[in-house]
Symmetry: C2
Subunit: 224 residues, 2 copies
Amino acid sequence: MEIQVVENVLKLNDELAALNRQNLHAAGVVSIDVMGAPGCGKTALIEATIPLLAPIRVGVIVGDLATQRDAQRLARATSQVVQINTGKTCHLEAHHVRQAIGRLDLRQLDLLFIENVGNLICPVGFDLGQDVKVGVFAVTDGDDKAAKHPYIVTESQVLILTKIDLIPHVPFDLDLFRADVKRLNPDVTLLELSSTSGQGMQAWVEWVKSRMICASGHAESLPG
Amino acid sequence: MEIQVVENVLKLNDELAALNRQNLHAAGVVSIDVMGAPGCGKTALIEATIPLLAPIRVGVIVGDLATQRDAQRLARATSQVVQINTGKTCHLEAHHVRQAIGRLDLRQLDLLFIENVGNLICPVGFDLGQDVKVGVFAVTDGDDKAAKHPYIVTESQVLILTKIDLIPHVPFDLDLFRADVKRLNPDVTLLELSSTSGQGMQAWVEWVKSRMICASGHAESLPG
């Protein structure tokens, strides 16, 4: 009985995710699900990325158990922000995103970041209708986090290691981290950056732009 | 149907948790469930605490999705360590702890740390049979984490803010964090410390010792 229920929940989620994907593609919007532990720097990354992407028009859906704090921060970078408060739910599901999409003007957007609830585990299994899943790790959280959370590594198309400006102040074996990532997912793109210092941000911005070109099928559709 | 299943799972968990509590109390072992985000410093805290508690005899049950890395680290501090690999399960449940207790020699222990899977959300709702729930936050994860994860704040008896040696290097409004904690749980004990520099560790060690005295009902039963 239990397995049946879980299957039903996931089936409903997948149906709504397909609907989200269809709606976003119809509007020409590329979407990126940003996943990572609480405090790894997801909001800071998106905040720093938006101005670097101009004139690409960026919206953000941001999930947290509680508070509007992330939306307030992101509202300084774009007017198209929707905060979802999940209560006790530890990840975003497709129905959350569906609800939030309804509050955005998709015709005014080229790119949508979906900032998931801070959690290295639960968000991985839920399709939201995104084009890309990005997993974020921070050097301040230790060099063992890829090995200890293999599913986010294997299910992401891009992994970002943030806060590299803090490497001088924390014990972090960069070679060990890179080797764990490579072993778990040889094909993943690993980008090392700091949203604060700006180091490595350009490579990430270029990756997003190239992904948008792939999605649109032709470079001419990109603004700018 | 779904709610029924969830209720059954939680009911079974509570029954096993009660059994764990009974077994631990019968053996005179006080147990502390340590919860917090991935990389917030749970293992480092336990590693640094064990030698400061001597001659109190400490065991550790440590939960991760994958790897034995935490157990390997903790084995340098105590011989009584059991690693649980939960696979894709995002928190420890009472049956995990029951299994792990069976592999410990409780007669050789006074205190048991149960290091939960790195996750600020899911572990909160599961009774493991512990005497105390401790929630851990790190300054490197940002000053908004208490407000954004209210349930771990309200359900913990002690909150620890770790990595305070890194405060000079990160933006962290200590007054804001303290105010959020106070608002959400006026009765909680908040301890600010660094497992690396040792700052604040003595207050935490004293708190653990006093909690053990409460649990045993009389100070004389404490070793040392």
